[in-house]
């Protein structure tokens, strides 16, 4: 049995104060936000960290094999290590809360959600991404009744069931891997005609007895890949019972009986609260320059929420460091 326990010792974090004008407010505590926090703290900036959770998407990753210094580390372990590193600084931390509004006021910024309101001279946005919804009938209605977005959390609940994983990228492959040891059959359904995920993950599925033909598109083993197909409906009375698929080349519609649907069709940026304030690209990502600056002076951004092309832990961490140093320079010049 795995036991996960790694408490950072000697915490120095404080509750935040509404009356204080912080040097910098960091929003979000994934790899980008936590790295930015370390860099700001070491520059002795009065730092406020507001976040919905500690860890971000890293918590959703069962195992990480491409963060330098670790050949293998679980998502929770890595996130705890990150947190352990920020917790040694006397930052102000507010967790379990989302920032709903960012406003410019008298050359500074105010951040608020409900009654809670804080102010800062500069802001670093590292709110990352969340799972995208498919937007098909049945998805909302059957959420938590067989429609799932977190494979690491929910895979054990689909023991001895037939499930479908929607998507063809790394998240879809990771979800299929998480499900291999529980489900009896896994349909991997992809709208494209190839799998876009890393070959290493494909090999893992094959090695674990899920020998699927990733390139020819036919079935074998526990995982069956269906290419060129989009889901049109998720059906079920109380819980998921079936999905309808349309082959986009032949327009043929078919129905498959499944007891669960894991939706892994990509991610959407958590940038709604700055819409109309900062420039966003067509995907809703915050546009930044090579020094992490957004369209509003004093507001910086880093990690998955930004227009930087690749989304990885090590990249988000590096970008977080850059944003912190840019914010530091901004504060020096402002003085």
């Amino acid at each position: 049995m795995d036991i996960i326990f790694d408490v950072p010792q000697g915490l120095k974090v404080n509750p935040p104060s509404a009356d204080n004008l912080y040097d910098v407010a960091i929003i979000g505590s994934g790899p980008a936000g936590m790295t930015a926090t370390v860099y700001c703290s070491r520059k002795k900036l009065d730092t406020l960290l507001i976040t919905k959770d500690i860890g971000g998407q890293v918590l959703l990753t069962s195992g990480i094999e491409n963060y330098m210094g670790y050949q293998y580390v679980t998502g929770k372990e890595l996130s705890d290590k990150f947190f352990g590193q920020i917790a040694q600084f006397p930052i102000a931390l507010l967790s379990d809360i989302s920032v709903c509004k960012l406003k410019l006021s008298k050359g500074n910024f105010s951040l608020s959600c409900g009654e809670k309101k804080f102010s800062a001279k500069s802001v670093i946005i590292t709110t990352g991404k969340r799972s995208k919804e498919l937007g098909v009938p049945g998805e909302k209605e059957l959420l938590g009744r067989g429609v799932a977005y977190c494979a690491t959390c929910d895979a054990p609940l689909f023991k001895d069931r037939i499930v479908a994983v929607i998507g063809g990228g790394n998240s879809a492959l990771t979800a299929a891997i998480d499900l291999l040891s529980y489900s009896t059959k896994i349909y991997l359904i992809n709208v494209a005609d190839t799998i876009q995920g890393d070959p290493v993950l494909i090999e893992k599925i094959s090695a674990a007895g899920g020998s699927a033909d990733f390139y020819g598109g036919k079935k074998s083993g526990k995982v069956e890949i269906i290419f060129d197909s989009e889901i049109t409906e998720i059906k079920g009375e109380k819980t998921v019972e079936a999905i309808s698929l349309k082959n986009i080349k032949t327009q043929q519609i078919r129905q498959i009986s499944v007891g669960g649907v894991f939706i892994e069709v990509g991610l959407t940026p958590n940038s709604e609260f700055v819409k109309g304030i900062l420039h966003l690209n067509a995907s809703g990502e915050i546009i930044i320059d090579c020094n992490s600056r957004t369209s509003v002076p004093g507001v910086f951004a880093a990690g998955d929420v930004t227009s930087v092309q690749d989304k990885q832990i090590i990249i988000a961490a590096g970008e977080g460091a850059k944003a912190a140093l840019s914010a530091y320079r901004y504060l020096l010049e402002k003085k």
């Binding site: 036991i3 996960i4 326990f5 790694d6 938590g144 977190c150 054990p156 609940l157 023991k159």
Partner: protein, 211 residues
């Protein structure tokens, strides 16, 4: 074989080094038809061995009927975490994986008797006059579940009528089926209110007040 490795033991030992009051881990198990009872028992014993403030009491689910009823235990393995008094905190199934941190947190909670909740939450909880049973279904691989369990345990600290039960979903398939648990954390309050996901303090409280 030991359930906890040396690294975990040493961090838990540090973490539990300033427990205020004594804590009892009351284990309910059975020799047969309970494959995970042995692990639950080892886990409780190994944690207790790390400090002289914790003791383990063991009862047979069937033979020790009086205790089973007294602690309102209805399935096994079960661990009641009892401090200065019984606050109504129960762990059903083996609290391994991410739930081990909820278990250690519960020990510290019942030992101090201090929930650390916001003043407003405490006031609202003190007004509750009927029994509230919070069941939280979890999996051991769910990173968000432990925050729901820790919060429910804090609610239990504040009012004796509030009981908090962590239930490892995969160990109790009949309950998973009964409550349609397909996503965790799944919270069921008094059989009337249900929701999925870890809610923040105020939102979770609202659901309790609704039940």
């Amino acid at each position: 074989m030991s359930v906890l490795d040396d690294k975990v033991k040493s961090s838990v030992k540090k973490d539990l080094s300033n427990l205020k009051n004594n804590v009892k881990l009351i284990l309910f198990s059975q020799e047969i038809e309970c494959p995970s009872c042995k692990d639950a028992s080892s886990l409780a014993e190994e944690v207790a061995a790390l400090t002289d403030k914790i003791s383990v009491e063991k009862y047979d689910f069937v033979l020790n009927k009086a205790q089973t009823e007294h602690y309102k235990i209805d399935k096994i393995p079960a661990i009641a975490v009892v401090g200065v008094k019984d606050f109504g905190i129960r762990f059903y199934g083996v609290p391994g994986g991410f739930e081990f941190s909820s278990f250690i947190d519960a020990i510290k909670l019942v030992s101090s008797g201090d929930s650390g909740l916001a003043q407003k939450t405490k006031e609202e909880l003190s007004k509750i006059t009927k029994s509230v049973l919070i069941k939280i279904f979890v999996t051991l691989t769910c990173p968000y579940c432990s925050s729901a369990v820790k919060l429910a345990n804090r609610f239990a600290i504040e009012n004796d009528l509030v009981l908090s039960e962590m239930v490892v979903a995969t160990e109790f398939p009949h309950l998973t089926h009964k409550y349609n648990v397909f996503s965790v954390p799944k919270v069921v309050i008094n059989e009337t209110v249900e929701f999925e996901g870890a809610l923040p303090e105020e939102k979770f409280l609202e659901q309790i007040l609704k039940a």
